[in-house]
């Protein structure tokens, strides 16, 4: 089966010349259709960069130095701009991290949802607004018609994130990249939003790359997971396997730092540099294995 997302040997650098830094050092990753993969790793590991690379959202000073990104077998990096734009927002969607800054403050919710439908599905204005109301209802927003007429500052953060989720699924995508979609929300809202993502994913059959710090969330909704550290994949596999028998000390440390009901959290111990070197060479092997795998 053609993977929904296939990333191979992805290298991303930031800056130019001598100050150039590698933020992704040959990452390979695969998502089958309908698969939910957790992408974990400490702050600065490169999780967001990975998602941005897929969405074509790398900062201006960043560049893809090597590697391949394919969506449903089509090379996103070699693709011409109009073709890529017709995929983005329609077949490939994003659930952003911060609902407070991710909606346009001067446009009504309805206009923001509708423009997406008109752009990608060529809906008429009326049909788009009607569909927008249905989409809002789908993410459990009450009185969707009324909410369509509101501005972002007039609704709560949780509600905004639900609007953004509705927008992500609006055009029936087959790949959704969610970059810490619940970090900015309080705990009860987090749970609702997670349930929503899971429900919509099932209904639309989309593959989801779920970036998070929270191993608890990964255990709950991700069948597979990838552990990223310093721009490299340290470990990946079925979530149950990885969490039950973490192969890398780093993953173990990450696990130990996750609070559980039955024991208090340990602080995430810094991994000694020598160990990291070892991990990298192992990760290299992993990359080579992945590279030899299916294309």
């Amino acid at each position: 089966m053609t993977p929904a997302l296939f990333i191979q040997g992805l290298r991303v650098t930031i800056g130019a010349g001598t100050s150039a830094a590698n933020v992704l050092r040959g990452v390979s990753l695969e998502l089958q259709p309908g698969e939910v993969r957790g992408l974990v790793g400490e702050s600065g590991a490169g999780k967001s960069m990975l998602g941005r690379a897929v969405l074509g959202l790398l900062p201006a000073n960043a560049a893809i130095a090597a590697g391949r990104i394919a969506f449903e077998g089509r090379d996103l990096l070699a693709m011409r701009e109009p073709e890529r734009r017709s995929l983005l927002g329609r077949r490939i969607a994003l659930i952003p991290q911060d609902p407070m800054t991710s909606l346009n403050p001067v446009k009504r919710i309805g206009a923001q949802v509708a423009i997406l439908l008109r752009h990608h599905l060529a809906s008429s204005r009326r049909a788009a607004l009607q569909r927008a109301a249905e989409l809002l209802a789908e993410v459990a927003i009450r009185e969707p018609e009324r909410v369509l007429g509101l501005y972002p500052h007039e609704i709560s953060g949780g509600m905004r994130q639900r609007v953004l989720i509705a927008m992500a699924f609006a055009c029936d995508p087959s790949l959704v990249i969610a970059d810490e979609p619940t970090t900015a929300l309080d705990v009860t809202v987090q749970r609702q939003v997670l349930q929503l993502v899971e429900r919509l994913r099932q209904r639309h059959g989309a593959a989801v790359l779920f970036v998070t710090h929270d191993l608890g969330v990964v255990a709950k909704i991700c069948r597979t997971m990838t552990v990223l550290h310093a721009g490299r994949v340290l470990e990946e596999g079925e979530t149950a396997h990885v969490l039950a028998r973490p192969g890398h000390p780093y993953t173990r440390a990450l696990l130990a730092a996750t609070p559980r009901a039955d024991r208090p959290a340990e602080a995430l111990r810094p991994v000694p540099p020598s160990l990291i070197e070892n991990l990298w060479s192992e990760a290299h092997q992993f990359d080579r294995l992945a590279a030899a795998g299916p294309a």
């Binding site: 959202l57 017709s86 927002g89 329609r90 994003l94 346009n104 403050p105 001067v106 752009h119």
Partner: protein, 335 residues
Amino acid sequence: MRWGEIIRRLVLIPPTLFGVAVIVFVLLRVVPGDPIAMMIPPGATPADITRLRAFYGLDQPILQQFVTWFGQVLNGDFGRSISVHQGVFELVLARLPATLELALLALLIAVGLGLIAALIGIHLRGRRMEWLVDIGIGVLLAVPDFLWALILLLLLGVLIPLLPISGRIDPQLDISFHSNFYLVESLLTGRFDVADALLHHMILPALALALPFAALVARILKTSLAEAEDQDYAQIARARGFSRPEILLREVFPNALIPTVALGGVQATLLLGGTVLVERIFSYEGIGNMAIDAVINRDFPLIQGLVLTFAVLFIALNLAVDLVVTLLDPRLRHG
């Protein structure tokens, strides 16, 4: 909340105008020089001068003078000009339309030029050519309006005499108007040849007023566009498959417009103030030019009337800016 703010501003208008009136009134009388000295014929006796001073009430204590004048103002009587011997109100009203038309034309030109420059600048963002736009804007900003007036006058009026350099319309043209809004009236009544003649006279002074302001608009708008383009919502629009022009137009521009109107609108008072010198340089018959004559003649009642007129214009402009910003920004529209 914001509407409350606007009501508060409305309430503050009368005390503001009163303050302006007091300051001007007192300053005029404290600073040396008075209208009588400017108007006496050679050979007038000290007795004549005393009589004249008494005639215009200038022998009274300042407080007494102010109370008299202000009482008349409250009844709509702004007094008579000492140098022109006509009612101040009628004089100002006759000249005000000329200045308003000039300022409005300058504003339109400035907004148009500023918009184009900002759009070119944002289009070139991050490329080497962006510097050229920034330097262009900087140069335009560094030269004040009256200097532009002199440059334009010498360049397009004298060196390459393409355009008339004085007045509002050719004196030999005998055209009658119903109002003093010559340009607006000729446009509304379809007399386009007249409008053309008027515009030929207005274009140089309007351009002089517009150039520095256009640079200001361009700079504020370009900065605001760049800032808004970096916001999450604009970045995310890229990940939704919208092209950069679409994003700039639909997501970024409506946001960038808010600080541009707020900052640029307040700065438009500079453009209004600029009419004083620029009208003088082009002998354009507006209230700015009139103000200089009034000062030269120490025409106290006329100066007072003109200063109050400018104050009202400034206040109206600020209020209009507040109103437009409130309309543009839904976050301010509450309560």
